[in-house]
């Protein structure tokens, strides 16, 4: 699931920047093709998500969604800068997920309006491109932070093996996601 998002995001960002920055537009020039890549990638991404939901591990997805949705007192303390035990996802990751999902919806809505507005003047609004642009700026900033934490920052980059291979170092998990480890131990001891 995550890698579908990652791949689609980079293609959409790349093609989007070619459409947006004059230096790149001049270099690549084939606006019709780049536009097609941009739109087709967005559609393919939506289709891929649907596919995963339909044929994937829906219980696993549902559990993940629940974990991302729920904020407890520890999460709130963590967000305010304090140290507090975290579950499988720390509060920052939960917030990132909520924002990313919201942005994806907004990109899709504004993207659709940009495309449709070309064909039906009643739906061509000046604000649409401003919102689409604004989303892009904020997303790039969020992406920079995301990549820093995932690849560079010592306390968090261990998570990369989790999202890539499905498992993380146990000691690191105990330190940074203690409540998750406790839950696992509780489950396995009760079985």
């Amino acid at each position: 699931m995550h890698w579908i998002h990652a791949a689609a995001f980079f293609v959409l960002l790349g093609s989007g920047l070619v459409l947006y920055l004059p230096a790149l537009s001049e270099l690549v020039s084939r606006r019709g093709l780049v536009k097609a890549v941009h739109i087709d990638t967005a559609l393919a991404w939506a289709a891929a998500l649907l596919l995963v939901v339909l044929v994937g591990d829906r219980r696993g997805l549902s559990r993940t969604l629940g974990e991302l949705d729920g904020f407890d007192a520890d999460d709130l303390r963590w967000l305010r800068g304090g140290r507090a035990p975290q579950g499988r996802f720390n509060a920052g990751q939960k917030l990132n997920a909520a924002l990313t999902a919201a942005f994806a919806v907004l990109f899709a809505v504004t993207g659709f309006l940009l495309w449709y507005g070309e064909r039906d003047t009643r739906f061509r609004w000046a604000s649409t491109i401003l919102v689409h642009d604004g989303l892009m700026y904020v997303s790039v900033v969020l992406l920079a932070g995301h990549l820093y934490l995932a690849l560079i920052h010592p306390a968090t980059r261990q998570a990369l093996s989790g999202i890539t291979f499905g498992s993380v170092d146990e000691e690191w998990a105990r330190k940074h996601h203690s409540k998750w480890v406790e839950e696992i131990e509780l489950r396995s001891s009760a079985d």
């Binding site: 004059p22 559990r63 909520a98 940009l114 064909r119 039906d120 061509r124 989303l135």
Partner: protein, 229 residues
């Protein structure tokens, strides 16, 4: 074994979905106010834009590559309903009376660039030697980027701030902006401002150009056409 799911615990608040919905609603609502806000915050936004390598311009094309400009072989044809059809070289063009102006550029898709400095020829001066016939009431601008074209009525072409520009922001027009000449008519949306003009045809009346054939308005007044205003 009954495993308590995370979200069933009583102290857990579903902030995740609230954050998600809140942002989506805020974003959708922005479709109603983003434009107005950007006009008020204009100055600040322009400074922000300066941080990004975009200069505010977006380069739109309809083909796979932009027309090349060869200074020695390029000619601007002026024909149609004229007494004397012309073929102007680039030097001929530069020798014509020059006009300068600073104006804004508005694209129908919603972005604008303010205070663009243009230098070029007013259409009256350009057409003087060709002597448009009495039946001529419109100009058709044919771009080297085929099949792009568009038309203006003579009255529209003779607006005080309309011109055939060959310099932008102190330099000769660059390839991306339509070198060597482009139409500049600030009171209308960008698509009327034809780039890479290679021919001007005098017609009895205005006809639909490239974008009009795709549903856009012929009289593309900024703020008063294409569904705006």
């Amino acid at each position: 074994m009954n495993r308590a799911e995370v979200q069933d615990r009583p102290d857990v608040r579903r902030y995740g979905r609230r954050a998600f919905l809140g942002v989506v609603v805020a974003g959708v609502s922005a479709l109603a106010w983003a434009d107005r806000l950007s006009r008020h915050v204009g100055g600040g936004l322009a400074q922000l834009e300066a941080l990004v390598p975009s200069s505010g311009w977006r380069i739109y094309t309809i083909g796979d590559s932009m027309p090349e400009f060869d200074r020695t072989t390029w000619r601007l044809r002026v024909d149609g309903l004229v007494e004397r059809p012309l073929e102007l070289s680039y030097d001929d063009l530069l020798a014509l009376p020059r006009a300068k102006q600073t104006s804004d550029f508005h694209c129908v898709t919603g972005w604008s660039v303010r205070d663009v400095r243009w230098e070029g020829v007013r259409f009256r001066d350009l057409l003087a030697a060709a002597r448009p016939r009495r039946e001529a009431h419109a100009l058709r601008f044919v771009s080297a980027e085929h099949p792009y074209d568009d038309t203006l009525s003579l009255e529209q072409a003779y607006l005080a701030d309309a011109m055939l520009a060959h310099r932008m922001d102190g330099r000769p027009l660059t390839q991306a902006h339509g070198a060597p000449v482009r139409v500049v008519v600030p009171e209308m949306y960008g698509y009327k401002n034809v780039k890479w003009v290679e021919r001007i045809e005098l017609l009895p009346k205005a006809v639909d150009g490239y974008w009009e054939q795709r549903g856009y308005d012929r009289d593309a007044w900024v703020g008063r056409s294409n569904g705006f205003g």
